[in-house]
Symmetry: C2
Subunit: 262 residues, 2 copies
């Protein structure tokens, strides 16, 4: 199973050097990276090589180019997202939206888009919501930020037949406990969740909204909430830059729980 | 929140056409894609454009190049991996390893590498196993296949202080119920699991083993098993091509379970 690795090309060696300088604080979080000519000069290598090395760091999300301002060292830490804990914490504030960001003492911001009634826009969303493709949904679209950097797009779809009964759900801030508490007010409080996690490359629009390169993969999570009678009350599609997040899940072992393990 | 998309470049339009031909069965699963010159001819476009379009499909995992044999249409379906269910099903056979692959009626194969005692190879693994960096582990490395295509690398690390007591764990096939049943025999049966999910680009070695392009992201899952006394009895690091898998997790809502929801 051991495999012999080919010696690293020079740009990869330079990338490793820059990575270690970011790790050890030579280039502090949030600072401007030295320019490519300056790095080429210091390291006595070609600008082409520096450029390829920096492109590697960009793909990894270790540095980010802000047009007209330079190349910046990553300032956000990797954010752990513990699914069970985040939704359990929702009754403490206005919902689960920014639990992790607040825990890391990052400044959180949520920008709501146009909250609106619409026909369900995709057959796979209709199927997940167990409604007809001609039925209506309430769309609650938002972009979440930490320290003013975008961390995820979260588009929440609720069956209009349920959500349409709550005036509070038409607003970004749905009140104490967030939208799930409003669903509970209507007798449809979520009691069970599933999440389907996929990974893919970002669309052009996502690259712009999330400040990503085309080479940076995103998580796409379909978070589905079920009421006690198994009605699906929400599907929320989260699109999250892969380099920013670690997803955490946990569960008790059903075999041990049922006493089958010896 | 609506964004105006720029008109698609020609190669992206060609990629969309090829994608729809794969979807509708014009190019069946597992078949050889027409050659790039043939496609350029048929579609009256340049070979450069065809080449970029095919490169897009390769990145998405829709086609795969086999050196000397041509470009093949993807033959494996997306494999759903339901974490809770996969480990619950382990007592039915020789472990959880290939539950999903078998359920899809795909031919499963597991190639074990060199199962061996060694010093824990990385500080983060030592930390997760709650052992010293000078302690030993049992490494059980394997590569899993479906219809002879690689689907994941799974390197399992167990504290030697526990695993060293079981002769069966020194073999790829650890017997009925797999390695967890052997841990249970020793009084360390797993009762609780956590999984941390990250996404990243594959290393050179992973590209070779998993037959991936450099542009295809992988899931890296750290699956951690806990015994009843909270001893960590295993960490298994799964590296899985992103395009092949959907991860599924589910849980009951702790707020509803504790009666706090109204």
């Amino acid at each position: 199973m051991t495999s012999i690795e080919a010696p690293k090309p020079q740009y990869a060696q330079i990338a490793a050097l820059l990575r270690s300088r970011i790790d050890d604080g030579t280039y502090p979080a949030g600072s401007v990276l030295p320019s490519e000519p300056a790095l080429a000069d210091e390291l006595r290598i070609s600008r082409v090589t520096v450029n390829r090395a920096v492109a590697m760091l960009r793909s990894e999300g270790l540095v980010k180019v802000r047009r007209g301002a330079g190349t910046f060292v990553r300032s956000l830490p990797k954010i752990p997202r513990d699914a069970q804990r985040r939704y359990a914490a929702r009754d403490k504030g206005t919902g689960a939206g920014q639990v992790e960001v607040t825990e890391l003492n990052l400044r959180s911001r949520t920008d709501y888009g146009n909250i609106r009634r619409m026909q369900v826009p995709r057959p796979d969303i209709a199927k997940t919501l167990q409604i007809e493709t001609t039925d209506d949904v309430l769309l609650r679209p938002r972009v979440l930020y930490a320290n003013d950097e975008p961390t995820q797009i979260a588009d929440s779809y609720l069956p209009w037949s349920i959500a349409g009964r709550s005036e509070a759900l038409m607003h970004g801030d749905a009140g104490q406990g967030g939208s799930y508490s409003r669903l509970a007010d209507l007798g449809y409080g979520p009691v069970r969740f599933t999440e389907d996690v996929n990974v893919r490359m970002p669309t052009d629009a996502e690259q712009r909204t999330l400040e990503l390169e085309a080479s940076q993969p995103v998580f796409e999570i379909w978070h589905v909430a079920f009421a006690a009678d198994d009605t699906v009350v929400e599907v929320c599609i989260h699109v999250m830059p892969g380099h920013l997040w670690t997803l955490r899940y946990g569960w008790d072992d059903p075999i041990a729980a049922h006493g089958a393990a010896k």
